[in-house]
């Protein structure tokens, strides 16, 4: 089964986290997901624009959704928990808040858009779990099972909560990511931090607290025996990988925990080329995990 989606990579996958975009393209091709690029998509606002101006934030995302609608696409595929949250929040508000909708419709009308509400934002994790047949769809594609490894999922808040808006998985005890980890051959690590915050939103407000939060989550995954963590959110990836050294200092421990993007984990098990998956572009070398499945990351 193939699906055609409007591809919404989000800002980080187009700047400091390009490995996420690389891995997504490789994995989507392998799974039969046809990605349609939209060089017109703008940033989702990451929750920060919402704090400064709610209506403007809804309008930006309504435009993003309307762009996909105009191209006749019903799914906007995100690869970031935060983008997923913001786009879904906008769609929810356009559906339930007539006052905001009227204001946004007026603005969009001036630039030639008519928002219909037909395009639905869905994260890659959600597309696999809900539209492509669930984790089991991956089983026949696995070429290099991650047998003997333990992987700790880190969901990223906005793909899960608030549940009455996101309507995906369980907001406090999710399982879709772990289901996939099992099918890929690894053993999931269940720990409290997997549904908690990575600290990213306050990285610029109080770095030491943000890093302590990240450090605690990584430490907990490590205590659970994780060989690596994996996340569907590139903002979590920044907290957990890019700032891991600082996070380690904040909790007084050398963490040395590889953190993969969600599609990278799938890509490894599918036997895709490590370089194509962007595996050399991490602060913490994922080789620690890859040794266990006899893959090497090119320098």
């Amino acid at each position: 089964m193939t699906v055609k989606v409007a591809y919404y990579p989000g800002c980080v996958a187009q700047e400091s986290g390009r490995e996420l975009d690389m891995a997504t393209r490789a994995v989507a091709a392998a799974l039969g997901i046809e990605l349609v690029d939209f060089p017109t998509f703008s940033c989702c606002g990451s929750g920060f624009i919402d704090e400064a101006n709610m209506t403007l934030n809804i309008a930006l995302n309504a435009r993003n959704l309307a762009l996909a609608e105009r191209a006749g696409l019903n799914t906007v595929m995100t690869i970031c928990s935060t983008c997923q949250g913001m786009l879904t929040h906008a769609r929810h508000t356009m559906k339930h808040d007539a006052v905001v909708k009227a204001r946004v419709d007026q603005t969009l009308g001036k630039i030639g858009f008519q928002y219909q509400g037909t395009a639905v934002p869905k994260h890659l994790l959600q597309i696999i779990s809900e539209d492509l047949g669930g984790a089991e769809m991956l089983r026949p594609l696995v070429r290099r099972p991650l047998t003997g490894t333990k992987v700790a999922a880190f969901y990223g808040c906005h793909i899960l909560r608030p549940h009455d808006v996101m309507k995906f998985d369980d907001p406090e005890e999710p399982h879709t990511f772990e289901d996939i980890i099992k099918v890929l051959g690894a053993e999931p690590v269940y720990y409290r931090g997997r549904v908690q915050c990575c600290g990213f939103p306050i990285q610029f407000v109080k770095p030491e607290t943000a890093q302590r939060i990240a450090g605690n989550q990584i430490r907990e995954a490590k205590q659970g025996g994780a060989d690596a963590m994996a996340t569907p959110c590139p903002l979590c990836h920044i907290s957990l990988d890019t700032y891991q050294k600082e996070a380690g200092k904040a909790v007084g421990e050398d963490l040395n925990m590889p953190v993969l993007h969600f599609p990278q984990l799938i890509g490894i098990a599918l036997g895709l080329d490590p370089k194509t998956l962007g595996l050399p572009r991490h602060m913490v070398d994922p080789q620690l995990l890859l040794n266990k499945v006899s893959v090497s990351v090119p320098a």
Partner: protein, 331 residues
């Protein structure tokens, strides 16, 4: 009736090592989890400390962690947990508060934060409430804070909050949601003072993780009220604190190219001096293949800029009409 294992975190409150103790209880799936705890105390171990009172989700006394989630055990049913947890219910005291004994915590830090926000009307002496008459509000005015009066101060949100657990400066979901109620009350005269009083980290350390929204038994939706407070603070105080600098800086950042310019955002939020501390990080990132090259402006940037031209002006947050239809969970 079915046999359910209650796995309870015991704590003698005298410095002994907390440990899980299992109790097997005969209980129906549609009974409250609290009923099982009372059975255990009455029939198996009278030393089990557990706090409860009304048993109907009004008093807010019986919040604890049920399979890791902060919940009132008087309304959480046995069956909702046992189905997904192999007939086992793990019960721990609330987080973020010191344990007095077993499932009873010392709520002093929670109430201290509540007191801090001065949870009462502050009146302008020059404009007192009418004597002998009601001080009337319109339904629209009341609607601005319709969620917060539902709060029963059970501290489930406080227990679920990772920011509270990581930084004593943060006021926590309940206190901030309650504070919001007074900022939009037309009878209250301390609007500016209240917003000043929660700068900087008392407010801006909220992570927007929405765990409080899920934990709240009354659908007060504290995280959403905190975002409302941040909007009010951004309007009233402007780009002074780091949190405001970051959200307003982000807003302006996107207007320029349509996508985020990460380096510029760091400079706007941290200031030039703060940025110096990030230079080393930048080099580290590049060494590991992290590109900091900014992407070109999006196509159709003029559309985004037209949206800004139309909407990037102060919103009437306090006077906004709010959508109906969002009620208490399950309504």
């Amino acid at each position: 009736m079915t046999q359910v294992t209650y796995q309870i975190l015991r704590n003698d409150g005298k410095g002994g090592v907390p440990h899980f103790q299992n109790f097997v209880v005969e209980i129906g799936e549609t009974e409250a989890i609290l009923t099982g705890l009372i059975k255990i105390r009455n029939e198996q171990d009278p030393t089990l400390a557990v706090r409860y009172s009304c048993r109907q989700e009004i008093c807010g006394s019986c919040a604890m962690r049920v399979n890791g989630k902060s919940r009132l055990v008087c309304s959480r049913l046995v069956g909702t947990e046992t189905k997904t947890h192999n007939n086992t219910i793990r019960i721990e005291p609330m987080a973020n508060q010191p344990v007095l004994r077993d499932l009873v915590v010392d709520q002093t830090p929670f109430w201290d934060r509540y007191r801090h926000i001065r949870p009462h009307l502050i009146l302008d002496p020059a404009n007192p409430l009418p004597q002998g008459k009601e001080s009337r509000m319109t339904p629209e005015q009341v609607d601005q804070f319709r969620e917060t009066p539902r709060c029963i101060a059970c501290a489930s949100c406080y227990s679920a909050c990772p920011a509270v657990g990581s930084d004593p400066d943060f006021l926590g979901p309940m206190a901030l949601a309650k504070l919001y109620r007074f900022t939009v009350d037309p009878r209250d005269a301390a609007y500016h003072e209240r917003l000043e009083g929660i700068q900087n980290q008392k407010l801006w350390l909220c992570l927007r993780c929405n765990l409080c929204v899920e934990a709240c038994p009354k659908d007060v939706r504290p995280a959403e009220r905190i975002v409302d407070l941040k909007r009010l603070a951004n309007q009233e105080i402007g780009k002074r604190e780091r949190g405001s600098k970051h959200s307003i800086g982000f807003l302006n950042n996107i207007e320029q190219g349509g996508l985020l310019n990460e380096t510029k955002l760091a400079r706007d939020s941290l200031g030039l001096f703060g940025m110096l501390g990030q230079v080393g990080k930048g080099f580290q990132m590049m060494r590991h293949g992290k590109s900091l090259k900014k992407h070109p402006p999006i196509q159709g940037l003029s559309e985004v800029q037209a949206i800004y031209a139309d909407l990037n002006k102060p919103e009437d947050i306090k006077g906004r009409e709010r959508p109906v239809g969002k009620g208490v969970k399950g309504e």
